[in-house]
């Protein structure tokens, strides 16, 4: 084996970190809207399209926003790498 890792692993590591960061952002969004807006007394709730604002932002907008963010992450930041080749020759050329 040559020294150093498979070049594809560096890409994969980076993508794993991006996925984790997105999950953390997802949690913050979900939590902040739910308990930030939803924590006040129900009498003071405002409503959007019939839903309480906390629910609308946390669950409905959150769902749409993070689906779009996954799309952006995958389309613009994730790289396509070949899976099958054992060719270490490809190492220098691609990166």
């Amino acid at each position: 084996m040559k020294k150093g890792n498979d070049w594809r692993y560096r890409i994969s590591n980076k993508e794993a970190i991006m996925g984790t960061v997105l999950a953390i952002l997802n949690f913050i969004w979900w939590y902040a809207f739910a308990y930030g807006l939803g924590g006040q007394p129900v009498k003071e709730y405002t409503y959007i399209l019939g839903f309480p604002a906390w629910f609308f932002y946390s669950c409905i907008v959150g769902f749409i926003v993070f689906t779009i963010l996954v799309f952006i992450m995958v389309k613009f930041f994730f790289k396509e790498v070949p899976f099958d080749s054992d060719d270490n020759e490809g190492e220098g050329s691609s990166r």
Binding site: M1, K2, R8, A16, A23, G38, G50, P52, F63, T67
Partner: protein
Amino acid sequence: MNWDVILPLAFFLILVFLVGIYTSRHIKSGPSFLQDYFLAGRELGGFVLAMTMVATYGSASSFIGGPGAAYQLGLGWVLLAMAQLVTGYFTLAVLGKKFAIVARKINAVTLIDFLKARYESKWVVILSALSIVIFLFSAMAAQWVGGGRLIESFTGVSYTTALFIFSCSVLVYVIAGGFRAVVITDAIQGVVMVIGTIIILAGTIVAGGGIENIMGELRAENPNLISPFGSDESLTPLFVSSFWILVGVGVVGLPQISVRAMSYRNSKAMHRAMIIGTFVVGFIMLGMHLAGVFGRVILPGIEVPDKVMPLLALEVLPGWLAGIVLAAPLAAVMSTVDSVLLLVSSAIIKDVYINYIKPDAEERFVKRLSFGITAVVGLSVFAMAINPPDLLIWLNLFAFGGLEAAFIWPIVMGLYWKRGNANGAIASIVVGVGSYMWLHLNYPNLWGMHTVVMPIALSFFAYIVGSFTKGDSPQTNTF
């Protein structure tokens, strides 16, 4: 029961059955048989990969138990259910291309193949195989009971007959078609789940006179129904957040999910699957649980939560549409049990038999054995389900958390931490499973969090500590 409802259900069962049988004709023999039977030759495209991950993950609790809880507790439970959005992209992103590449390099067919190559330890293999067989068998039995009960309640046939119908429709295609039949039928079942969600949600909103009206009535009945804290204020932020571990990021540790992360064709398939999977899982969870909450306005006073969805569908929809909606939970159950059944059988054949009993088994014999063991496992689940324990969701969650605590660190750390070794993995599995069972029985929901949180934290420390005791990290560059 009326035929309007039964016909779409019967049509669905027959369709799945036929597709499964048809797919099984593509099973290859020869040297690639195991790869083909248990992993569909690593050929999954993006759509099928997304659907099989969502459908395998989504079970009876997404369509029956969950909406029932939402009916009782209100929007707070929908909030909790939305923690599952993250499963749509997290597993694939974290295991990532590395898992798929490593699996190809070492020719892994099962999750345990990966652990075996990574840790080079007999005990890791034995402990993992044991956890998979024990936990997933009980989870499968619970789902099997759920499948039987669903058919029983929709059609009015006896439970045993219902179970028989269910078993026939699942067993035949899994045994004959292996992973390929499982994922193709999963794709169909996933589509049925999405369509069912759209129909029931639309039907409930119309029947309730619009969202604004529904919210008004919920607020009038009990303002807490539209707060994030639940009708009885039992849903604390900490408790709800802890479900991000149980049904969110922890799902990486479920073998039936992670094995799918080695089955896709190329990077493009993985990318597409993340987008589609996130959308589909978010849509189903949001839609079904909202329908459960809305149902409270239309049909107040249902005592048994599991009856909410079936009664609601029959109330707000014409019979044939209700039949399509009720096919969704059935699809969810089938798509879970078919995957789990195949996984249990692969653990027995590939991980135990070929690894330790007869490494040089002849190809033709392995083939017959694979069909045989899958059939035996399936039939014994059927036998156990005839006289079932009455704790469907409990058993299901028990298996769920136990497996997550056992496998999440050996998989994730094994992939990304070079120093991790066999001692770490063994410690992690033992501590994870042990502490989960002990806490679940003695101190459930310790400190106001779901039971799964502490075992996952403990198994992490066990992994680190174990890895720092002696023991070698792997010498190759494969990982």
